[in-house]
């Protein structure tokens, strides 16, 4: 996967405003909707925004922006599952991660192969966002470096690579063999910091992506891949055939206005305008399409903050719905499962293990598993969050029931309480403190986990966090993270109050010293 890292940009405001208004059908005409996806890095946002604006101008359909989805697996599955109509992708990614066949190198073969899946690949947009090695212009001049072959024999140099680059087969191990390279020292650092390290002179060679915004601005020389090692990561649009056939005018407009129009230098400039100049992707896209409002360079900080604040009520509501619904489902499932586990101890062990295993699945992975089943958006997020909230509820219900005073349980049998009466009149009330503690834990956890829902288009505060992370913009991240933390505190407080209502009075007296 190609990813983009960041400067510090802020797209969120405008982007979300449009995304949200688009998500709510305005009761307007029965025009079809084109659902456009993007991954969560700058270039993908810009390309998707270009697509969206062209679709809007073509006038055939309305646009639903589902931007900032968390990675190839999620976006592709959403497209294949009919949840998206089109999104920007790279040929290398299509071959390696989607078709899982690095041998697919020509566009014709790729088109045939994705056609089997009901998909269409557009003409190349014109740039290749590939890995490359770069040196400072000064170093290039001093050592006469223009190509990767020129690096051979320069063992005195120090290299700084992306964490992924060192292990990938199409990274350093292969490159080293292919060109016979060797460096005095190879270090690893987050890509975002590589340009700064190069400028400081502490390192000589860094990994770059060939459309990095910095390449448009800094004194950096990208070394040509003269012996053709790096696979192509040519940008294309990946679309559903149904969409292409049903909105031919729109598709034609996309091909006409994007294909071959974006070379490496142009894309790097657009990335720089977002990453380094802090313009919104929407403004940059509009300006590129010549429909911009003569965009000012930079949105004022106060405007950005105001835009974020306008989004907060809607995002808060979405987040509350995510937490509330998934918690309700988790309680409705978890308490009976806990009861079952306590009744059938052997089955219970299996059950607790199963719920425990669910918890060990990274939240993001669990979310992406949901896509083939439920597509993208709120429903799969709710399912994943509900599953995630199960463990504390099942475990505490089980623990509360099996740790009851055996005398009280025996007495219930002698008194003539069996089945549901014993459960409802005696066991659940006695275990209520423990069960409620489990539900409280689940609720607070879910407020945090729900921020991940944004990766599959589930909305909520995570939308701001995902956008902020993609664009390395602390203000946007905090605009999502702080309300989320506050909501967690509020939920905790709410449950403290609720305990007073839900725990039987007699138990509370026992709980307090007399």
């Amino acid at each position: 996967m190609r990813r983009r890292r960041p400067g510090a940009a802020l797209i969120a405001g405008t982007l979300l405003a449009t995304a949200l208004t688009a998500a709510v059908p305005a009761g307007a005409a029965e025009r079809p909707v084109v659902r456009i996806g993007s991954k969560s890095f700058t270039e993908s946002y810009i390309l998707a925004e270009l697509v969206a604006q062209i679709v809007e101008q073509a006038g055939e359909a309305r646009v639903d922006r589902k931007f900032g989805l968390g990675g190839t697996g999620i976006v592709y599955n959403a497209l294949a599952g009919g949840e998206l109509d089109v999104y920007p992708e790279y040929t290398g990614t299509v071959a390696r991660m989607i078709l899982k066949d690095p041998g697919v190198t020509t566009l014709d073969v790729m088109r045939t192969r994705v056609a089997e899946r009901g998909l269409v690949v557009s003409a190349p947009l014109g740039f290749d966002n590939a890995y490359a090695l770069a040196v400072s212009r000064a170093t290039a001049g001093r050592l006469g470096l223009r190509t990767l072959s020129d690096l051979r024999g320069h063992r005195e140099l120090t290299a700084l690579f992306d964490p992924g680059f060192l292990d990938r087969d199409d990274g350093w191990p292969g490159l080293r063999r292919h060109y016979g390279l060797d460096f005095r020292d190879v270090r690893i650092m987050e890509h975002a910091l590589a340009y700064r390290a190069l400028a400081s002179g502490k390192v000589d060679v860094i990994t770059v992506f060939t459309t990095d915004g910095e390449l448009a601005r800094e004194a950096v020389t990208v070394l040509a891949d003269d012996r053709k090692f790096f696979p192509d990561y040519v940008a294309v649009l990946l679309a559903r055939r149904a969409f292409v056939e049903q909105q031919p005018r729109t598709w034609a407009a996309l091909e006409r206005r994007l294909a071959g129009r974006l070379d490496n230098a142009t894309m790097a400039r657009l990335n720089a305008e977002v990453d380094l100049d802090h313009q919104s992707a929407a403004a940059v896209a509009a300006s590129f399409l010549g429909t911009g409002l003569g965009t000012g360079r930079r949105e004022a900080g106060s405007e950005r903050r105001a835009a974020l604040l306008r989004e907060l009520p809607a995002l808060t509501l979405q987040h509350l719905v995510l937490v509330g619904v998934s918690l309700a489902v988790a309680v409705a499932l978890g308490v009976p499962l806990g009861i079952l586990a306590a009744r059938r101890r052997r089955l219970g062990q299996v059950e607790l293990m199963g719920v425990g295993v669910l918890q060990t699945i990274p939240a993001l992975a669990l979310l992406s598993f949901m896509i083939p089943l439920f597509g993208i958006g709120r429903v799969p997020a709710l399912v994943a969050l509900s599953l995630y909230a199960l463990l504390p509820i099942v475990r505490n219900t089980y623990a509360g029931l099996v740790s009851l005073d055996p005398q009280l349980v025996d007495m219930a049998a002698v008194i003539g309480l069996d089945g549901t009466k014993r459960l409802g009149w005696v066991e659940l009330p006695l275990a209520s403190v423990t069960i409620l503690a489990g539900i409280k834990t689940a609720a607070v956890l879910t407020v945090g986990t729900a921020t991940l829902a944004a990766f599959i288009g589930g909305g909520g505060y995570g939308t701001l966090i995902v956008t902020g992370l993609a664009l390395n913009d602390a203000a946007t991240i905090l605009a999502g993270a702080i309300p989320s933390a506050l909501m967690a505190l509020a939920v905790h407080g709410l449950f403290e109050a609720f305990d007073r209502l839900a725990v039987p009075r007699g138990l509370r007296i026992r709980a307090s010293p007399r």
Binding site: D405, Q407, L408, D410, M411, A413, V414, I415, G416, L417, D418, K421, W425, V426, P429, L430, S432, P504, R505, G506, L507, I509, R510, R514
Partner: protein, 248 residues
């Protein structure tokens, strides 16, 4: 009539009962006397069908205790344990009325019965709305007793019902119990390690030690015709020393 014939029960490595035979005559109070771990509580749990016997037979009024008959037998038994086993989330009235509620009595009938029992055990009406945590130890045991009596069962099984109480409350309640058992004509099995309680309450006494019956009989039998030296030792252990007896 409660009959145990050659009953043994083992919990893991611990032999709780070892060949115990025992007959409790109707309308008598039969005391199971013994130290900790003598197996006396296990006898009650076997009669209630809460645990099955490993070998031997347990029968109540001729019906053998087993999974099929347990429910019917429990219906005819009131059970009180040392700490009361009251439900902390229910008020006194809620606890006392629970067996009746479990059997679908109408609310008014339950209330009437609870009030009747409160008079019987001299329990003040305002306390009926209190939770167990708001009651004294003696009050809690009265509640537990009321609950055992609410369905008017012919049999009462009492497992150290006064064991956790202070001496004064204990003596007071012992007196009340004697009178009540006589008036209500219940068949009572009472488990205790307290010789005084056995003397005051027991028509018949069975002394148990390490899961075996040491001696059956009246208090007089045990005191005057002890089957083994252990019987005398057990009875004497709780007698005040002569020097202390002079004070009374």
């Amino acid at each position: 009539m409660i009959v145990l014939r050659d009953v043994s029960k083992r919990f893991g490595a611990h032999q709780a009962l070892d060949g115990v035979s025992l007959t409790v005559a109707p309308y008598t109070t039969h005391v199971l006397l013994g130290g900790s771990g003598s197996g006396k509580s296990t006898v009650l749990r076997l009669v209630l069908g809460l645990v099955p016997a490993d070998t031997g037979d347990v029968a109540v009024d001729g019906v053998p205790v087993g999974p099929a008959t347990r429910r019917d037998i429990q219906r005819r038994i009131g059970y009180v344990v040392q700490e009361g086993a009251l439900y902390p989330h229910l008020t006194t009235a809620g606890n006392v009325g629970l067996p009746a509620r479990a059997r679908g009595w109408p609310a008014a009938a339950i209330e009437a019965r609870v009030n009747e029992l409160a008079r019987l055990v001299d329990f003040r009406r305002p306390l009926l709305e209190r939770y167990p945590a708001e009651l004294s130890g003696g009050q809690r045991q009265r509640v537990s007793l009321m609950r055992a009596l609410v369905l008017d069962p012919p049999v009462l099984l009492l497992d150290e019902p006064l064991g956790a109480l202070d001496p004064i409350t204990r003596t007071e309640l012992q007196g009340e119990l004697v009178q009540m058992f006589r008036e209500l004509r219940k068949t009572v099995v009472l488990v205790t390690h307290d010789v005084r309680e056995a003397f005051v309450l027991g028509t018949n006494i069975t002394l148990l030690d390490a899961g075996r019956v040491v001696q059956h009989g009246t208090f007089d039998d045990l005191a005057r015709r002890p089957a083994t030296p252990l019987v005398t030792e057990f009875l004497r252990a709780q007698t005040p020393p002569p020097a202390m007896a002079e004070y009374f």
